[in-house]
Amino acid sequence: MTAQSPVLRLEGIVKTFPGVRALDGVSLTIMPGEVHALMGENGAGKSTLMKVLGGIHQPDEGRIIVGEQPVTMSGPLDAKAKGIVFIHQELSLAEELSVAENIYLGELPRKRFGLLDRAELETRTNRILDRLKVGFNARTRVGDLSIANQQMVEIARALTVDAKAVIFDEPTASLTDAEKVVLFEVISSLQEQGVGIVYISHRMEEVFKITDRISVLRDGQFQGTVNTADTDEEGVTHMMIGRKLDLSRVECHHELGEVALEVRGLSCGHLFEDVSFEVRSGEVVGFYGLVGAGRTEIAETLFGLREPSAGSIYLGGELVRIHCPADAIARGISLVPENRKTQGLVLGMNCRDNMTLAQCDDLKAGPFVAEGSEIAIFDQYRDRLDIRTPGWKQLVCNLSGGNQQKIVIGKWLSMHPRVLIVDEPTRGIDVGSKSEIHNLIRELAAQGYAVIVISSEMPEVLHVSDRVVAMYSGRVMRTFSAGEVTEDSLIQAISGIEPEQAA
């Protein structure tokens, strides 16, 4: 490998946005046939660097060298023509179009006079779909696919050209384990063909499983490249956040209180059926399951966003009916939603207003919003959650993902809820912020909150929960107490294997 010349080199890339120096002299070398991890905290500039490489952004300074040639990437198609393929972090699909049209978006095969060559399109697509072993065909409307399958369509785009380098920006965020296996197979077959792969992920175990080298960015600055074999999680984390991270669980020994929330036989159409569980104050209950298991729907039902078709909800022993989020909030239930951008934040509003959005009715001075109290609340939670922002006037859309998530958490903590539900609290969040959020969740429990954590990451669930509820296809399979849960039993439960069968 040492004798080969790199497929791709970036030298001294600088990119500034108004008010942000997103990249500050970053250099990176990608060798053929290697899987190169790019890591860094949220907002470190990973996606920006890859967008520069993919021709979506133009760098202010620096050079991109493909093979031996310095090049300018005038746009995504230009990049693709030069052999650089880009799988986006956010799903980037046209739902109304077919799978085939999405895979070849931007370069549909054409006959003369701009006519679409459908036959050619479908043959080529089927060839790729076969390789990915997916269960849908070229004509399926993408909007009808599950999120995971949509992600596979996104990945299929990498296979349309003879790529020199393929960039995966957090491809596994919504994949099931089985789909991850397929993805990793695809990656290794690309690798064998001598393609250089850039792999961006916050998931350490994946990075250590499949990558050859790791490069780290911090605040837009290049921190260095190491061989994966020569380092460990701790070392990488240190490069990323510049300090040592205490990954041990904060054990706050505290008594569990009364049952704060009890759910009996709750159903909502076909989304989930006959769900029963309870959460005590001071307890963290983790909900684990595959994507589509119905966990989010349970949370939404508890928060008054869906009408249950059967079952009952008790809060502090009292039977309650919750018809809308305002009911839920009044009764002390809070939900940190799954998708912070669409559900958690008004991106065009400033940090303060977002933080106090759920309580602007309560913070009043006469008929007006009490701006003084709002700022006080914001300051308090900014310090407590270590939110990095120049001030409350900053628009939320200018914050990095992790800091945005903290604003959402702050919004609900400042309401002092009895039951706090957090859905995928660390999706797309870097390790540093992640462990902060985990510690925060433990702390909250210690203070007497009843906390429900919904997560698709097993380490996370195991790490923060006192008990784990395993769900499969809309049903609760098993509830594990802290002592009895093991990775194996959990995997069996969420795959639909009954405990007696498994035993």
């Binding site: 021709g55 979506i56 746009g75 995504p76 198609l77 230009d78 693709k80 880009f86 986006h88 980037s92 699909l93 046209a94 739902e95 109304e96 179009l97 049209e101 978006l105 931007g106 370069e107 549909l108 054409r110 006079f113 701009g114 006519l115 679409l116 909502c268 159409g269 076909h270 989304l271 729907e297 939404e300 008054g304 966003l305 869906r306 009408e307 078709s309 809308c324």
Partner: protein, 333 residues
């Protein structure tokens, strides 16, 4: 899990069902209310229906692609009027005096060029400035109307050319010239949207603009082309209509954008873009024209027509939503 087949059928066929309902309703109501001896479903009456649908219908085809593309064009009424002014006025220009009736194709070409240019101006502004199409074309609706007035003050622009009128009134295989234009435009636009790369890209852009950009589709030129097409079609609609009537008031075409959008929405095209069908728009156009014709057939006055058309638009929207809800367990947002 599967939406019921009835729902799917209703969703795709709703507009045709509505048309059938209208036909039955007006035929029955006409028996009691109409003074006319001829039935509503008379062949000649239906042929007239197609012909009278043409001016709105031709523009609606353009509006469909612009809306699929994720934009909207409120300036079509003014474009229509300005193209008509150019067509009628150019036939009297001294430089064309020697052409005789050959002035007709020249005038047509000038009118179509005018429409295309006006569309291109909108498209370029939307593309280059990034201002929302709603605002750009709302402005143009005023601006182009101002140009219509500037051209000939407040006077109508007229030129009756009987050769032209005879052509416009002609019937070929039983269908009027205007009907042929409408059918031709529908076919061409259907082909454009379903069988060409430009059409598929237009869908992609309306569906998910960022995805299209990421995939390297040049969003701007596609939008520009679609605005030019709708400008061209607005002009074509004017050519078809004013060839027959020969005189344009400066206020003509006002509120056309409302009729056109109503037809397109009735046909099921989503305002947000990305979804819509040319054939359904054709249905929407027929449904509207049938409604207007039917109401006048049963002797409804202007106030009733306004009331009914407004409420039907809302009812269709309501129906569409009912058909698209996923049942009780749906998220309440």
């Amino acid at each position: 899990m599967q939406p019921s087949t009835l729902k799917i059928f209703l969703k795709s066929g709703a507009i045709w069902g509505f048309i059938v309902f209208e036909l039955i309703f007006f035929t029955v109501a006409g028996q009691f209310l109409s003074l006319s001896e001829t039935a509503f479903m008379d062949v000649d009456n239906m042929l007239l229906l197609f012909k009278q649908s043409a001016p709105i219908g031709i523009i609606a085809m353009g509006m469909t692609i612009v809306m699929i593309n994720g934009n909207i064009d409120l300036s079509v009424g003014a474009t229509y009027a300005l193209s008509a002014v150019v067509m009628l006025d150019s036939m009297t220009w001294p430089i064309f005096a020697g052409l005789g009736d050959w002035v007709i194709p020249v005038a047509w070409a000038l009118a179509l060029l005018t429409g295309t240019v006006l569309g291109a101006i909108n498209g370029l502004i939307v593309w280059k400035t990034g201002v929302d199409a709603f605002i750009v074309t709302l402005g143009a609706m005023l601006g182009y109307r101002g140009l219509v007035f500037m051209y000939n003050g407040e006077q109508p622009t007229s030129h009756l050319n009987w050769t032209l009128v005879d052509f416009a009134e002609a019937q070929f295989l039983g269908l009027h010239s205007a009907t042929w234009f409408l059918l031709l435009v529908t076919a061409v636009i259907w082909f454009l949207m379903n069988r060409t790369v430009h059409g598929r890209n237009a869908y992609a852009i309306g569906n998910n603009r960022e995805a299209a950009v990421n995939a390297g589709i040049r969003v701007g030129p596609h939008m520009l082309i679609n605005f030019m097409i709708i400008g061209f079609l607005a002009a074509l609609s004017a050519v078809v209509f004013y060839s027959e009537s020969g005189s344009v008031n400066p206020n003509d075409g006002m509120l056309y954008e409302l009729w056109v959008i109503t037809a397109v929405v009735l046909g099921g095209t989503k305002l947000a873009g990305g979804a819509g069908s040319i054939i359904s728009t054709f249905g929407g156009v027929l449904a509207i024209q049938l409604l207007r014709k039917g109401l006048s057939h049963i002797g409804a006055d202007t106030s009733t027509v306004n009331l009914v058309i407004g409420l039907i638009l809302i009812a269709v929207l309501l129906l569409d939503r009912q058909l698209n809800t996923k049942g009780k367990e749906e998220l309440k947002i």
